[in-house]
Amino acid sequence: MYVTVKGGERAIENAHAWLGEERRGDPQIAAVSPAQIREQLSLAVHRVMAEGSLYDSDLAALAIKQARGDLIEAIFLIRAYRTTLPRLGPSVPVDTARMHCERRISATFREVPGGQVLGPTFDYTHWLVDFQLAADGEAPPAPTADPVPEATPHVTGFLNREGLIEEAPPSDAAPPDLTREPLEFPALRLQALTRSDEGFSLGMAYSTQRGHARTHAFVGELRIGAVTVEMEIPELGFAIEIAEITLTESETVNQFQGSKTKPAQFTRGYALVFGQSERKSISMALVDRALRWEELGEDNLGAPAQNAEFVLSHADSIQATGFLEHIKLPHYVDFQSELELLRKLRRAAGAAPRQEAAE
């Protein structure tokens, strides 16, 4: 428990003034604009949109600036802003098969219809610091080629045709909403995972690869690109394209031995994340798959990544940081009572009383 403490207003005011000055840094160096952050630190912006659960790149860029680059702080700002917005309605579920793919790879099929498209990837770079970036900011234009107008069907679709992989049968049931209802398992799994902390998801996913819940995943497909979002407009009576957003979708293909009721077939893990968020997306797909053990009739191996309560209750960076950081706020009364108790116990045990600490 913490109680309100009077005093300290001036100290707080001055601390915030200093924060502002530190945020600005050396005034001899040009200030960074939110537009520069949006354009040049776009992956940080994407992460803030994904975990802030609000797609607005200008707002995310501004939040990053305000938070001095502390992304969890920026996500916190976005979540707080989000709660002030009236909800105009839900979208029609996005159709990722019609994504304008900028990157699309499959680790399971080399010759995949639509092709393997690398996109603007860090893969195959040599991870050497590029000192040229410090010298000038100009980039030569990227080479182009004529795009072939062809469909890019989901890879799991081919496996479905042979019945080799579990299907995801369509439904139109309205999903529950984590922002309005308490966290329920497993209904809110995908919503909770898509906005979960990237580091937490990565750690959980890695644990499954190291043997805690053996799900042995391949990236069946990873695709990144723009998707149009349609929304029904009540006063019009039809849907319009209300937004265009970049999404990262991952589908893993996982081993499955089959059970008494099901013939052996591959199972799948699924991820869909705001922005170009590849690491987060693959992590989400692995964790999604591990959490589905019960539904697939697998054994509970007692692995942390199989424990929905554990994973989904601790995956949110804002909930976690809120609870973690509150312990640094004044707890004087709590602490005083603990202090009293400890002294009493020590007296009862016959410890020699000494000069007591200043209170």
Partner: protein
Amino acid sequence: MLDETLTVYDRKSWLSLLATARAGRAKALLDPLEIPVDFTWLRRPEIGSVMIRGRAGGTGAPFNLGEATVTRCSLKLAGDTVGHGYVQGRAKADAQTAALIDALMQTPAAETLTPRLPDVLRSEQKERRHKRASKAAATKVDFFTMAPGEG
């Protein structure tokens, strides 16, 4: 090139183009036309959110993915034509322009507007997509099999 004189837009198409146009773009195209407009608000611009949904496994049951900011407004022209503006992001001026154009497109002004607005927005959208698709195409992998001992 498309024969632009033949393009007929339905309301869904022009509203969709307006919703995702770049900030200030529709206004920059509308203003030079100097179409006199007199309107009253039915709903002043308001910023809200749309909850974007995905489907589990890409095809399965819907789930809530996260929200996006959206601005909307509604207005009525002097001749009683109602226009609705819905745009992505926090953009009250753009929502107003969208609602004005939505209303005007339902009047005889549509003839003047079509080649100067929806046509332009559509070709810009196509060009934007084509540019990125061309860069993506250049990163498509061409596999070839090497003879044993090569490489």
